[in-house]
Amino acid sequence: MEIIVALKVVLDDQDIALASDGSLDTSRAHQVASLYDLNALEAAVQLAALEEGSRVTVLTVGGPEIDDSKLRKNILARGADELIMLLDEAARDWGSFETARALAAMIAKRGTWDLVVCGDGSADRFAQQVDVQLAAALDTLVFDAVVAWEWAGAQDGRLSLKRKLEDCEQTLACTLPLVVSVMPDIATPRICGMKEILAAGKKPVSVLTAAELALDLADIEKSGGATRFELIETRAPARQKRAARMYEAASSEGLRVFCAEAAALIG
């Protein structure tokens, strides 16, 4: 089975500092794999293990700054066989429409595929759009909210999916090819062992540009709307300063003061 995992590279939110004026300082933020996409990758690798000869290829799209040797190894140490990156200045601010188009072109260029796995949503925007738009571009079916799957083997050829919907759980079986997005519950990302970390540096990585994929950027960006808006600023809402008072809980007097002040605050 040829499995593709669409993985977004985002800024590590733990490294994003909040300046006093509410603006976000991303200058020290590292590029990391989007959180839920790691669950998707783990699920894909576990599925691949059920069918001998299966391969897992990770695709990612972004600006040239997402190309980081540690990031590459981190992805490949998690069981993926290959990483293909579309790195282009134009891709830095792409939304889901542009990204889905680019992923579809990458998949077409790569050749045969059976299953595309997406995470539940990206850690930065969480638009949950790439899966459906990618399926549209690939002209195939898509199922989201998948929490479990079963593979009975190539002879049966159908992937059985369990979806967790708002008010019910749905189970269905579907022939491939197919696009799915999986909920984080489907698999817990593995802890990479040293052996896998060392092996990751030897796995194949391909880097493509939009030109090499013959993407018509002007057309894609126009259709996606990227040329029709300008991001003015991103600012955190004003925060109320916390009192952060410490009370000595070891003494009854300290506890009494705490209770009295808490009662006064609550009213």
Binding site: K70, G193, A244, R245, A250
Partner: protein, 385 residues
């Protein structure tokens, strides 16, 4: 000089942090110290995550790595968890067997290790009258007319001696006198007739209990010998330097955890209406603690780098052990002091860390023995040419 981590080392650190976050919650650590044992599930999880294989040769299923990386693994694991664990001792024991054992002994040992994450044996080297002074060891084997050997003597501070199924014993050949440097190593099942143990109760590092072990006419056969007859002393000496480095890597990790706690607390705790970090006495504590940690870290990784590059580290490992153990104990002690009365309770982990560090001023060679090792060598190194 490049002090940065490689990609692989950074990823290893991330894996360790994630493992500790998932598998070693604070209440489990507290329970492990109280019960003086590590649950099998945790040992197995450590093995399954691949950490237990780091530093073992590839032909035995391991993942070989340089000593600097082994130091990073050890320090980070202790830092992330804030506690000691027997995992380091386990891999050192397996490496001892790989270095000295025959194929059958190595196979047996690795079968257990790769299945359970635990070594087949504890290490019975120290004696009440012979710690670092191995030549004074008096445990002895004497050859019998039928070709077997009788083992007599006593070992002490045998870590996990009452839980692991065998003990690797170092014993003099035929003659227990200090002049006799001929000794051998023997792999002895704990259930062998004549072998008995007695628990010892430590004031720290309770997660790794040790015991005394008595040998009273224990019958050994030639196939129980590990390594070449008479070369046990050489074997014993071989791994001491690396052991000292990794002991300090553990100390450094837990002392860093104490620093993390204390430094954060100085911004939270208020006296006289101000956070205590605004007082210069507290600032000086943090400053000196950080210097101690950095000095220890620099000495540690320089010594490991020297081992990796084939340089002798007899002096450096002794300097590191002497300085690092004391410096880390001091860091833990000052962290405890910063917490005041709260630090002297079991509500924080600082008391535990302090006790664990304090024990490392003794384990693997006392502060004083390190002077004995390094002092005369330094005089030679600096002698006028």
């Amino acid at each position: 000089m490049d002090f940065s981590y490689t990609d692989e080392q950074e990823l290893l650190i991330e894996s360790i942090d994630e493992f500790v976050r998932r598998s070693m919650p604070d209440d489990l650590i507290t329970r492990m110290y109280a019960e003086q044992s590590v649950p099998d599930e945790l040992t197995r999880a450590y093995l399954e995550a691949g950490f237990a294989l780091i530093g073992l040769p590839e032909e035995y299923g391991g993942v070989p790595c340089d000593r600097v990386t082994l130091g990073i693994l050890t320090e980070r694991f202790a830092h992330a968890s804030g506690c000691l664990t027997p995992f380091l001792n386990n891999v050192l024991a397996v490496n001892d067997m790989i270095d000295f054992g025959n194929e059958e002994q190595i196979r047996l040992c690795l079968e257990t290790y790769l299945e359970e994450g635990k070594p087949l044996f504890s290490l019975g080297f120290s004696e009440p009258g012979a710690g670092s002074d191995n030549a004074s060891m008096s445990t002895v084997t004497r050859r019998q007319a039928d070709g077997s050997f009788l083992l007599n003597g006593q070992k002490t501070w045998v870590t996990a001696g009452e839980s692991l199924p065998n003990v690797l014993v170092a014993a003099k050949d035929e003659d227990p006198s200090p002049d006799n440097r001929s000794m051998s190593m023997w792999l002895v099942p704990r259930t062998t007739a004549g072998l008995s143990t007695s628990s010892l109760h430590k004031i720290g590092a309770e997660i790794m209990p040790f015991c005394e072990m008595f040998f009273d006419d224990v019958v050994l056969t030639e196939d129980m010998r590990v390594g070449v007859a008479g070369e046990g002393f050489k074997n014993l000496m071989k791994n001491y330097e690396m052991e000292r480095c990794l002991i300090i890597a553990q100390c450094l990790g837990i002392a860093q955890a104490a620093m993390d706690d204390a430094a954060a607390y100085t911004g939270e705790r208020e006296t006289f209406g101000k956070p205590i970090i605004s007082y210069q006495l507290i600032q000086q504590k943090l400053t000196d603690m950080e210097i101690a940690l950095l000095n220890t870290r620099n000495l540690l990784y320089r010594t490991l780098w020297m081992i990796d590059t084939g340089q002798p580290v007899r002096i450096e490992s002794a300097l590191l052990k002497r300085y690092g153990a004391q410096a880390c104990t001091q860091v833990a002690s000052e962290a405890l002091q910063i917490y005041g009365g709260l630090g002297f309770t079991t509500e924080t982990r600082l008391g535990r860390i302090w006790k664990d560090c304090r024990g490392m001023e003794i384990a693997g060679g006392t502060n004083e023995i390190m002077v004995h090792i390094a002092g005369r060598q330094l005089a030679r190194r600096y002698a006028r040419k």
